[in-house]
Symmetry: C2
Subunit: 361 residues, 2 copies
Amino acid sequence: MTSSNLQPDEPVNPQTDIFLRACYRQPVPYTPIWMMRQAGRYLPEYRALRSQYDFLTMLRTPELATEVTIQPVDIVGVDAAILFCDILVIPEAMGMELRFIEKQGPVFTDPLRSEHDIDQLKPVAPQEDLPYVMEAIRQIRAQLAGRVPLIGFAGSPWTLAAYMIEGQGSSHFRTLRRMLYAEPALLEKLLDKLTIAIAKFLQAQVEAGAQAIQIFDSWGGLLTREAYQYYSLPTIQRIIARLHRTANVPVILFSRGRGADLDLQMDSGADVLSVDWTIPIGKARQQVKEQVAIQGNLDPAALYAPPEILQEEAKSVLSGYGDGPGHIFNLGHGIFPDVPVEHVQALVEYVHNDRKNSHAN
Amino acid sequence: MTSSNLQPDEPVNPQTDIFLRACYRQPVPYTPIWMMRQAGRYLPEYRALRSQYDFLTMLRTPELATEVTIQPVDIVGVDAAILFCDILVIPEAMGMELRFIEKQGPVFTDPLRSEHDIDQLKPVAPQEDLPYVMEAIRQIRAQLAGRVPLIGFAGSPWTLAAYMIEGQGSSHFRTLRRMLYAEPALLEKLLDKLTIAIAKFLQAQVEAGAQAIQIFDSWGGLLTREAYQYYSLPTIQRIIARLHRTANVPVILFSRGRGADLDLQMDSGADVLSVDWTIPIGKARQQVKEQVAIQGNLDPAALYAPPEILQEEAKSVLSGYGDGPGHIFNLGHGIFPDVPVEHVQALVEYVHNDRKNSHAN
């Protein structure tokens, strides 16, 4: 399936490949936009399905995953679809029992606490262990029929390790951070296993039809810069190097909370760096010196604003990036479940109509 | 009582005023150290008291607050004491009902949701509304008898507003952030009221004997840089200006998650900027161009490390700051409740014994 992916120097269909062109810093007629968690509860159509099926059933049923993946393309008009899935399917495929608790989120029954626990983790064979993911990708590609590209994704090794050790989301991740300082060799062993599993998983996603990949390093911001350089970034580097050797897809790296360290992230091999809303996008662009594209970074809370304020905020991101290619509009973090869908639609329309910063040349 | 405070150009007792000298970037024989939440559960002596009294009783009883404030001075050997209190006593004094729920933390029974709610908030008269705070400060000063200085503190207006609107700590603070974009005039009204209340409270703390003040802008990191400049920083600026007009105490500002914005924080009027562990302290120092002192910034999780690793981490902070005055050693966030007290003691000893970066001249 990779033959259908965009090659860096290939001519593209400007109606369908604006997002991919922007990833490679090629000229585009307008700034493409998609939103993290765009397949989500703010859409009445998503909520209607969610009322019938639990979260795990939805992501494990290719027909349902396909339907919600495509909803924001139809309803909101985004320029890329992102696979409806969860970063925790990898730990699950490695043998950890995962439950989703309503209003609390995902919880591992037995978090990793010892070398024995880590040794017990199975290697991942994506085709056998996660066939529903590959099938969903094939169905989504078929149903999208080239309208917009499909983004696959995975969590970074550090971020998956965070959940696997802590057992769930946490405000301080104390168990994880204790291991970081008290038993770093254990953590490294886990990170190594995860790096291999994630690389294979992403490779399989591309083979099934994913046309771009985003790596969510959601908890990279827990680390010192030095520890980020040692524990998170090299694993991401290895994953991206492997992907780039075998697949022609752009890779987006989102290390949340590390907007001051884009100089390091540039060495990851990522084609696009996604930044959260706490750093001005103009400052992000300065850091990367036109070497990679930048994705972001509207405050997700701006979608609560009335249209005229929302428009001002969107404008400030667009003009903050400035002229020239290499900007993908996105939120600085996942979309909130209770924003009005009309606001989301208005945002997409506004970004599409903004030609003042047109990247065409 | 302010007559006992250090004046910027006054000769000091080097045994007792090392912390205050460092705040003013004066030469000191070694780097002073204290730790956020140093009066806390990692101390067996603290836990012994906490098993008898609930948290609110402890902070409302001057004798108990005094005892736990002084514990880390006696047991750990820190160079400053910080008042045992809570930033949420201000919203409580304004009329909000506050409860502390074990393992969950503070919760407001009726979070602010409307202009009416905000209009109902009472002005704060610190002497009448918070007499136990002032009495604790007087008792602590008397018992410390000049051994180390006493730091008073308050939350920033933005940070208190965060809890008052959301009702409690939160991973996303969606209610707060909705108000920020959907009803900014309401938020500004609340911030104005809080600014006045906090300024008066800090003034009263200094009059009672606090010799330095720290402002905890714990949730400043939720904002875009632009919104931080508009909603948080000016209120802090007003508070510090008022303090500096009437009291000769150094002011420390800790805007967590805003290490990339020390250029802005320098305009706050703070004498010391406290930084979290996600930014290298050398980079922090570069940003402030020797205009203010820097406090920080060991990863609190480093206290889980065995002594030789902990020492390396502490050394990296000390040498990261480098030679010359203006460094106060601290953690990048509050101390965790389950770190071994021996590690905390070893850290203080190591910092005190490190003369390679001696600030004396």
